[in-house]
């Protein structure tokens, strides 16, 4: 069984907002024109055997949807899943109105004294990741682009204060109880912070301390993070 091609009779408008190696991401609507939604579509890979491709696509789509549903059910801030079409490789989910932590940091840190304004946001990032890990879900690709900040009352995040931090893109996520996996999540995020902005590196300490406070196993994962950093450094010295 192969995944059917995108339906040409689907007349609902959709706007491509991102095109990754695995997935096309659209802004669209669901059920009614007034309900905004995000459509994540994994297109067919023609170089793969069709049967294998269909099976892999189905597996990945279901895995991503299950992680989102599981997280959301536990009150962890992730987009709600609206509908899954696993044969076609599509997930429809809640549209998060806001901007990425990356964009917020870029905007705020560009202004003098901006660091002081994002403290609260750093705490919410640490807490969100902490809650995810407490539920034994690892993200697999924690970057500042995969953390969104919801607009509050239609206003873009400016003071780093009020907006809820939402974790997005669970395409590489998995269930894991391993401290190592959780520490690697944090390490990836740390690297993302330091490459986002020179000033952001210091801010990451706030993320980590909020993370450490946010759940029982947090401290152990932070200790494990030291090991992961060491290995990371050795690897980069070896080139």
């Amino acid at each position: 069984m192969t995944a059917p091609p995108p339906d040409p009779s689907d007349a609902t408008p959709k706007t491509l907002i991102s095109q990754g190696a695995e997935a096309l991401v659209y802004r669209t609507t669901f059920l009614v024109p007034t309900l905004p939604a995000l459509l994540k579509h994994r297109p067919r890979k023609t170089y793969r055997h069709p049967t294998l491709d269909a099976r892999l696509t189905k597996h990945r789509v279901l895995s991503e949807a299950r992680l989102l549903v599981r997280a959301r059910g536990l009150g962890i801030p992730v987009p709600a899943v609206y509908f899954v079409d696993e044969a076609n490789g599509s997930i429809f989910m809640e549209w998060i109105d806001g901007s990425s932590v990356r964009q917020v940091l870029d905007a705020i840190l560009a202004s003098p004294g901006g660091e002081g304004k994002v403290d609260a946001m750093m705490v919410r990032v640490g807490e969100a990741v902490g809650r995810l890990h407490k539920a034994d879900i690892v993200h697999g690709d924690l970057t500042t682009s995969n953390l969104m900040v919801r607009k509050v009352g239609g206003v873009e995040e400016q003071e780093g204060g009020a907006g809820e931090v939402v974790l997005i893109d669970f395409g590489l996520g998995q269930v894991s109880t391993q401290e190592e996996d959780k520490a690697v999540d944090l390490y990836v995020l740390e690297r993302a912070f330091s490459s986002t902005h020179p000033k952001a590196e210091k801010l990451f300490e706030d993320v980590l301390s909020a993370y450490g406070r946010s759940w029982k196993g947090g401290k152990t994962v932070l200790r494990r993070l030291q090991d992961v950093r060491m290995r990371g450094r050795k690897r980069s010295m070896l080139g």
Binding site: D7, S9, D10, A11, T12, T28, T29, F30, L31, V32, P33, T34, L35, P36, L62, A65, R66, V69, R72, G73, A80, V81, Y82, F83, V84, D85, E86, A87, F92, E94, W95, I96, D97, G98, R150, K151, G154
Partner: protein
């Protein structure tokens, strides 16, 4: 008497497919309507849903959307037709009999949501449905809106809590009416219910 019918083309479903929806309160002949379904009377091919179990438009439309999707994907339909499938798709589990008992019309039903699809193989017109429902349902038709679902046909919150295994603490009309939509998204209770429907399909 002329009754209001909502006619919709669901997003991402190919255009010729149309869904017609009518909401009735004070229904007096539920037993008769249910008997027609049980007898397989093709004139009565509707999704007849006990409206007490429906919390919002989106809730009902999500089930209708999943049902028509199942119709259009070869081999995916689990029940006899797209109408019975809609009732099935309201369920958080894969037990078909259980779904009809929980969400379908019962002899005791007084609030009734009627959903009818016009499909490629079985096109129907708004006029024909209208006159058929006018003739067949003894009740008062009200517009299919969130407000009417909450206040006219009345949600049975205990049933909703039981059906979807939701903690009943904040479960009532007032909280759903009060809660402002977050960034144009769904209210948290709708999200929770839709999540349960997705779990049925993803396992």
């Amino acid at each position: 008497m002329t009754i209001p019918i909502t006619s919709l083309q669901l997003e991402h479903i190919p255009r010729p497919h149309t869904v017609y929806i009518t909401l009735f309160k004070d229904v007096k002949n539920a037993t008769f309507l249910r008997d027609q379904l049980l007898a397989g009377n093709s004139e009565f091919e509707y999704a007849f849903i006990d409206a007490n179990t429906i919390i919002s438009k989106v809730h009902a439309l999500a089930a209708a959307h999943q049902a028509i999707h199942n119709l259009l994907v070869a081999g995916k339909l689990r029940t006899r037709n797209v109408h019975s499938e809609t009732v099935f798709c309201l369920s958080p589990n894969n037990n078909i009999t259980d779904a009809f008992k929980r969400f379908g019309i019962l002899p005791t039903t007084t609030s009734l949501l009627c959903i009818k699809f016009s499909t490629l193989s079985a096109p129907v017109t708004l006029e024909s449905i209208k006159s058929h429902l006018e003739r067949s349902v003894e009740g008062t038709a009200v517009e299919f809106t969130d407000e009417n679902l909450l206040q006219e046909t009345v949600v049975d919150w205990a049933k909703v809590a039981k059906n979807y295994k939701i903690k009943s603490d904040n479960l009532n009309t007032q909280s759903l009416l009060n809660e402002k939509a977050i960034g144009g998204g769904l209210k948290s209770l709708e999200v929770e219910v839709l999540g349960k429907l997705v779990v049925r399909t993803t396992g």
